[in-house]
Structure formats: C-alpha cells, structure tokens
C-alpha cells in the first residue's frame, strides 16, 4: 500500500460514513412520514404510512408495479420487471430510504411530510 492508496481508502471510508450519517440523521427526526411513488410521469402517489393494509398499482415501461403498505412500512409487492431486485429490497419505513425499480423506472421513497 502506497501513501496515495491509504489516502484513497480512508477517504472512501469517510465519504461512506458521512453519507451513512446523513441518512441516519434524516431518519432520526420524528415527524409524520409519507411514501412517495414516482414513475416516468413524475410523482404518481403520496400516501401516509400506517393505517390499513393496502396496495397501490402504478405502471411503467415494462408493466405493473404493485406497492404494498402494511404496519407503517412499505415495499414492492410485485413488479413486472425481469430482475425483481426491487421486490428483494424488502420493506422500508424511515425517511431517506428508497426502493428503486430501474427497469420500470419506479421509485418508492419514504420522506418527511413537508409540503
């Protein structure tokens, strides 16, 4: 390891820690949170977390994306995309967290409700 190598590794760790701390800070504040679903056409739905179990279906370039809300969490229940990475991303509930479906261009992001 040369000196530059060590500087590189340390700065990568610092950037990772700072960005993790940023997202940690965002989620530590207690305000009402909403899940915002965006598609190619922009913001398609904005729903409070919590309440009854329910689903919202949106469409994108490859087909349907079904978003499920349950127990103050939200996840991608079904997606017509080939890789299903978005479905495997699991449940999210904290501001800053996102579930992204790249093929279908659908993003579920949990945010503080400021509007």
């Amino acid at each position: 390891m040369t000196k530059s190598d060590r500087i590189l590794v340390v700065s990568v760790i610092v950037v990772a820690a700072l960005s993790a701390a940023y997202f940690g800070f965002v989620r530590s504040r207690t305000v009402p949170v909403v899940a915002v679903i965006t598609t190619e056409r922009g913001e398609t739905a904005r729903e409070n977390l919590g309440g009854e179990q329910r689903t919202i279906t949106v469409t994108g370039p490859v087909g349907k994306s079904i978003v499920e809300f349950q127990d103050s969490r939200v996840h991608m229940l079904w997606s017509d995309c080939p890789d299903k990475i978005c479905m495997k991303m699991g449940w999210i509930s904290q501001p800053g967290q996102v579930v992204v479906c790249m093929p279908n261009k659908v993003v579920i992001s949990v945010r503080e409700n400021v509007r």
Binding site: V12, A16, D83, V100, S109
Partner: protein
C-alpha cells in the same frame, strides 16, 4: 513493415482481451449476489480494464470497456436497456478514473489502489446514471453500502491484476 506487424499484433491482443472481458462480464452475471444490493458486483471484467490501462493506455482501455459492455449486453439481451446504461456508465467512469489515476498520478498508486479507485468510480457512475434515469437523488441512499462493498472487491481485483504477467516496457509500480 515492422510497424504494421506491431500494429497488427497490438490489435489482435486487444481483440483477445476484449473477448476475455466479455466472458468475465458474462460469468459475473451467473454469480448470485449474497444479499440484495443493486449494483454490487465482484467486478471481474475490471481485471481486464485495469490490465489494458496499464499495458496499452487510456484509449485502448476505454475502447475495450465500451466494446465489453455493448457486446456483453447483446449476449445477455439487455442492449440499450436500463441495465446496459448502468453497466456502461459504470464501466466507462471506472476505466477513465483508473487511467487518470495511473497516468496523472505519477505512479503514486499501487495496482490495488488503482483497482479500488476504479471500483468506487464504477459504483458512483452507476448511481449517477440511475439518479438521472429515475430523476431522483434518493438513489444515493445506497452510496455508503456500495462504497464499503467496493473496498474488498476492488482489493480482490487489484490482487489479481498484480499477479498478471506484465510486459517489460511498462513501468507500473508493484505493491
């Protein structure tokens, strides 16, 4: 006469390295990722990208990386899809950063250091492309995870490249 022979053997070498990169790119798609982290990969094809940077220069390396992602996506049927755009952006930024660190860095980085720089650049390139495609900066939520993941994978790729036979004309630092 000698010049054209040299040029021909260089072309053949680059073609072989491109073919090797495509095979590694394809093998990589067959390896399941242990847990779901979009864009987290071993980066096997980066072995070839870094080797070409060291041995043949920036232009050749960028050409090999572009051909690898285009032909690789044709093989897996993802050409011009979102997957292709992500892998193309990542590969080009990664190769450019490794070349810049090697040729502008005055050999201050070891081969492993170059590889780690390339691995992190690959993830940042992918995230930038992803953020652009879905028009959401929120995808940078995955930045810390991807950066931490890039350290061991970049280190591994660097180790592999360090052990590759090198021509005598290049003066890259080892260790």
């Amino acid at each position: 006469m000698m010049e054209s022979r040299k040029e021909t053997s260089r072309l053949v070498l680059l073609a072989l390295l491109t073919a090797l990169a495509i095979v590694l790119h394809y093998i990589e798609t067959l390896i399941p990722v242990p847990y779901v982290m979009p864009g987290a990969k071993l980066g096997l094809a980066n072995v070839v990208a870094l080797y070409v940077v060291l041995e043949q220069g920036t232009t050749s390396a960028l050409t090999v990386s572009a051909l690898r992602t285009v032909i690789g996506s044709l093989l897996s049927g993802t050409f011009l899809s979102v997957t292709f755009v992500l892998s193309f952006s990542g590969a080009m930024l990664s190769t450019a950063v490794m070349a810049a660190a090697f040729y502008r860095g005055r050999h201050s980085f070891s081969i492993t250091g170059l590889s780690i720089a390339g691995a992190t650049a690959h993830n940042i390139g992918q995230l930038l492309a992803a953020a652009f495609i879905v028009r959401q900066a929120g995808v940078f939520f995955y930045l810390p995870y991807l950066l931490v993941f890039a350290l061991p994978t970049g280190f591994f790729v660097g180790l592999v490249v360090t052990r590759l036979p090198r021509s005598t004309k290049s003066h890259a630092t080892h260790e």
